[in-house]
């Protein structure tokens, strides 16, 4: 037994329950496993305990009804032949097989699912007669945040709740470090721009008070006034020209720094994505990742923009204008501030209540695009089933949703905008009213009043904008956080610090008690062991979903085994350098993936330094040369996305040539001929015979006839190898392989089982 007790699997019973249980003969102290669920078997919330004593399994609960025994279920170990967990909807069950019937022992909600998956694994060992270890190591749950306990999206994910969001700013600023000089210049220009923008209103004040009202006490004489007028107008022009220059330089600098850090971020994110394992791509769809690389990184540019003309500049402007207003006339400044709380409240209301309605508009638009895309892409099916009218209705519904969403938001906005406009005007009206009276009473000059009104616009506008700060901040932090999440995700397939080199020649494979599951508690491969000698040709067959491709994924180390190990030439694949392993194991997939580019570039994808002679030889061996040469541009023919412009068979032959050029010691053919016509298949088979000679080859195929020449065939069922041997031996066994061959023969009316079995290799 482990030294320390498990919090999850050695839970103490509540004292009252322990007392009742003891009365009923339960030996709580002998229980090696005690855990609790949150549901009873009726599907209602109730704390029910599961106890495993050395020789029996019990469930206990405190009952509201007096006199009801604490023991709910009691099963002797000898009566249980199997334990399993079964997924329900929103929860699950731990079942025991008793007298050939699965009995529900415990029900649990999904919040407790992991605990019962663990308990089930322990109980299975207990049934086999071994005393399982239960200790604190069982409390570790990589799918939960170690800090707050919240379920993560996947093992090793970062907890979105516990992320230090303040640190995001620090990281973004750190990214700007190489551009510090430019950022300092930029900020200097921001301050200069704001300072200069305050001057024109002061000049207008002088213009009105000293120049445009000649003859008034203290004003300039008319002769001097003209000179002053020219000087002030020239100065105004000069200020506007300088400000334009500042904005130009600032804009360029902001654009340079913004686009550069976006570029840096995009490169880092993409670089990291290429280093992450296949398991990462199982969890996120390509669309999501594209949006992160292309969209979220753009927020970096937004950050720089916010510094130069966004919230930071606006905050400085509000403070600066406020100071000027108070210096001009503090009483009028206070009146100016009167509608400010209303402006702020209205703006907050807008961004919190009205702005989210735009989400609905975006959603409606996106659904409309989706509907249109589906209908137009599937127009042949629509027509074939005569469903044009139905699709028209479907489209009308989507289109109506867009119309209604737009109306909803626009009706509100048209009501809101004029109302907020009145609020903005309220300040001006108050200033006109009070200030006007003061001007008439000669307590205030007209110039000061006009300057005041000018500053008022400069004050209210950014104030309204500042209320969007929370909105921008949330968007920025969310998007940036998503970007940093990628950068912070550690590749699950880790490489050792000092990987071992592979021998020059070889090609042997050994699976030793390998167990693996994409989800931790549902193994897809169960305790599989087999060996492949160098140069041997192995076929793998089995029904869809039985684990054939998973075996291959493990060999190529797209995933790491949960238990056991895989050896290539006697070395555990986890001890090898990944690059070397991938160079050693070549894969030809069912759907050959070709990149946009020339045929030549696609052929040399894994071997950039291949000579034209090597490329020609590989293409010839793969039966690809003949069709390539027929293209007007031969090997320099440009092919589109995913090999557009080539047939399925042609794409496959290019992928075989690509693998051949890579010259792997071990070649994996995963349904390489299942998506091509018979003629192409024949050409591909011929190519494969040449390619696989003297290479360890593992081929997965649905068409069993393509595997009959394999040295050995492994039959996989439900994650285990259930049969192995040559084609003839397996037919003779009359097991699953025989069944599969028989079904296929009947389906294809191809050679009968007998004919197939009599065929000589």
């Amino acid at each position: 037994m482990s030294g320390s007790r498990s919090v999850l699997l050695n839970m103490p019973l509540p004292a009252e329950l322990a007392r009742l249980a003891a009365k009923e003969g339960v030996e709580v102290d002998r229980a090696w496993l005690t855990t609790a669920t949150d549901l009873n078997l009726a599907g209602s919330y109730e704390r029910v305990f599961l106890l495993a004593e050395p020789d029996r399994l019990l469930t206990l609960a405190l009952s509201d009804k007096s006199g009801r025994p604490a023991t709910r279920i009691c099963l002797a170990r000898q009566s249980i032949s199997e334990i399993r967990t079964r997924q329900g909807v929103g929860g699950g069950f731990l079942d025991a097989l008793v007298d050939g019937v699965y009995v529900e022992v415990v029900a649990y909600s999904n919040a407790r699912a992991d605990v019962f998956h663990k308990a089930a694994a322990k109980l299975k060992s207990w049934l086999r007669g071994t005393q399982p270890d239960v200790g604190s190591e069982d409390d570790a749950d990589p799918r939960r945040c170690p800090k707050c306990g919240m379920m993560l999206e996947f093992k090793g994910d970062l907890c979105k709740r516990c992320i230090n969001r303040g640190a995001v700013f620090v990281r973004v600023l750190r990214m700007m470090r190489p551009y510090t000089g430019k950022a300092v210049i930029m900020m200097t220009f921001v301050l200069a721009g704001i300072g200069l923008s305050l001057i024109p209103q002061q000049m207008i004040r002088v213009l009105i008070d000293k120049v445009l009202a000649p003859g008034q006490a203290g004003n300039l004489p008319p002769a001097n006034a003209t000179t002053w007028l020219l000087a002030l107008v020239a100065a105004l022009l000069g200020i506007h020209v300088v400000m334009a220059g500042i904005h130009m330089i600032m804009g360029r600098l902001a654009s340079f720094v913004g686009t550069q850090i976006t570029f840096d971020m995009r490169s880092r994110v993409f670089g990291h994505l290429t280093r992450l394992g296949v398991d990462y791509y199982d969890r996120y769809n390509v669309g999501q990742l594209m949006s992160r690389v292309a969209g979220d990184t753009e927020q970096m540019k937004g950050f720089v923009h916010q510094m130069t003309s966004g919230f930071m500049a606006q905050m400085i402007t509000v403070v600066a204008v406020g100071a000027v207003l108070f210096s001009l006339n503090w009483k009028l400044a206070l009146i100016t501030l009167l509608p400010a709380p209303l402006v702020v409240t209205a703006a907050i209301f807008f961004w919190k209540r009205i702005y989210p309605r735009y989400f609905r508009v975006w959603d409606a638009n996106s659904k409309l695009h989706g509907t249109l895309n589906t209908i137009l892409s599937g127009i042949r099916v629509v027509k074939a089933f005569g469903q044009e009218h139905r699709e028209q209705n479907r489209f009308a519904r989507s289109s109506g949703y867009v119309r209604d969403s737009f109306r909803g938001v626009e009706y509100t906005v048209t009501l809101f905008n004029p109302s907020i406009g009145v609020l903005f005007q309220l300040g001006g009206i108050l200033v006109w009213f009070v200030g006007g009276q003061w001007v008439l009473a000669h307590d205030l000059t007209l110039g000061k009043l006009m300057a005041f009104l000018g500053y008022l616009g400069m004050f209210y506008h950014p104030l309204g904008q500042l209320t969007q700060l929370t909105n921008w901040l949330t968007q920025f932090l969310t998007a940036t956080q998503r970007t940093f999440e990628i950068l912070d995700t550690n590749p699950q397939i880790a490489e050792q610090d000092q990987p071992r080199p592979l021998p020059e020649r070889g090609g042997s494979i050994r699976f030793e008690n390998v167990t693996f599951g994409y989800s931790r508690h549902e193994p897809v491969i169960k305790n599989v062991s087999f060996e492949v000698a160098p140069g041997e040709h192995i076929g793998i067959v089995g029904k869809s979903g039985c684990g054939k491709t998973t075996l291959i994924n493990l060999l190529a180390r797209f995933y790491d085994v949960d238990e056991g190990r895989i050896l290539v030439d006697g070395i555990d694949v986890r001890e090898l350098q990944l690059q070397q392993l991938r160079g050693y194991v070549g894969v030809v997939l069912q759907e050959p993936f070709l990149f946009r580019g020339t045929i030549y570039n696609n052929l040399t994808y894994g071997q950039r330094d291949a000579t034209p002679e090597q490329v020609l030889a590989a293409a010839k061996a793969a039966n690809a040369h003949e069709f390539i040469i027929r293209h007007p541009l031969g090997y320099d023919t440009y092919i589109g996305e995913r090999g557009a412009g080539l047939s399925g068979g042609e794409r496959q032959r290019i992928s075989i040539a690509r693998a051949l050029l890579y010259d792997p010691k071990i070649l994996i053919l995963d349904e390489a001929t299942s998506n091509v016509d018979t003629e192409s298949e024949q050409l591909i088979q011929e190519a494969l015979e040449r390619v696989t000679a003297e290479r360890t080859t593992i081929a997965i195929a649905h068409r069993l006839s393509t595997l009959k020449n394999s040295d050995r065939i492994l039959v996989v069922d439900n994650g285990q190898i259930v049969e192995h041997g040559t084609h003839e031996q397996l037919l003779g066994q009359k097991g699953l392989y025989y069944k599969l061959v028989k079904i296929q023969t009947e389906l294809s009316r191809e050679p009968s089982v007998d004919a197939l079995s009599n065929r000589k290799p």
Binding site: S81, G90, M150, K160
Partner: protein
């Protein structure tokens, strides 16, 4: 109903290629050993460890209910479909309803007290058929999926499910608050 002992199973079973409708005349639903749900199909056998599943949970709540049996090898076999649960004697129908309640652990939301959004998470404080519950869900379209024309199923961070059968049944304020955040 008292537990009945499980009788030995015969070899015969349902044809996996055809839909078989179970009727009160062709079968009897009862409890067997250790309270497990059993179905005795006339002239066929007794199936133990039976569980029930809706074929159309949204469109036909009390109809087209599949009764499945876990065979000893762990593989699930459909015994048959109940076309309409109300055709069965109340006691038997109740056993099926209890089995459904066990399999579908879903909270039905009757009122939204509070809904908030922060950094990609939606927090909800709701009244459900199982009492008042607070939970958090990720703000993602696959965490709030459509249920019929006007309903939504919310899936929290623990994968627990919360059903709003009809958004229109919520008060206008609750609906507005809900659709402001879960707008899809």
């Amino acid at each position: 109903m008292a537990d009945e002992p499980t009788q030995p199973e015969s070899e015969s079973g349902p044809d996996p290629t055809r839909v078989r409708y179970l009727t009160p005349e062709s079968c009897r639903i009862h409890l067997g050993t250790h309270g497990a749900l059993h179905v005795t199909v006339r002239d066929e056998r007794i199936y133990g460890g039976v569980y029930a599943a809706y074929a159309f949970p949204v469109a036909y709540g009390d109809q087209f209910i599949s009764l499945l049996h876990s065979a000893g090898d762990g593989k699930d076999v459909e015994i048959g479909l109940i076309r309409n649960l109300s055709d069965f004697p109340p006691q038997q129908a109740d056993l099926v309803r209890q089995a459904l309640a066990r399999r579908y652990f879903i909270h039905t939301i009757t009122r939204i007290h509070e809904i908030g959004w922060k950094y990609g998470f939606v927090s909800l404080d709701v009244e459900t058929d199982k009492g008042r519950v607070q939970f958090m869900m990720r703000w993602k379209s696959d965490r709030a999926v459509d249920y019929g024309r006007r309903g939504k199923v919310l899936i929290d961070v623990d994968e627990n499910r919360y059903l709003i059968p009809d958004l229109d049944a919520l008060s206008p304020g609750e609906r507005a608050d809900f659709t402001r955040i879960i707008y899809w």
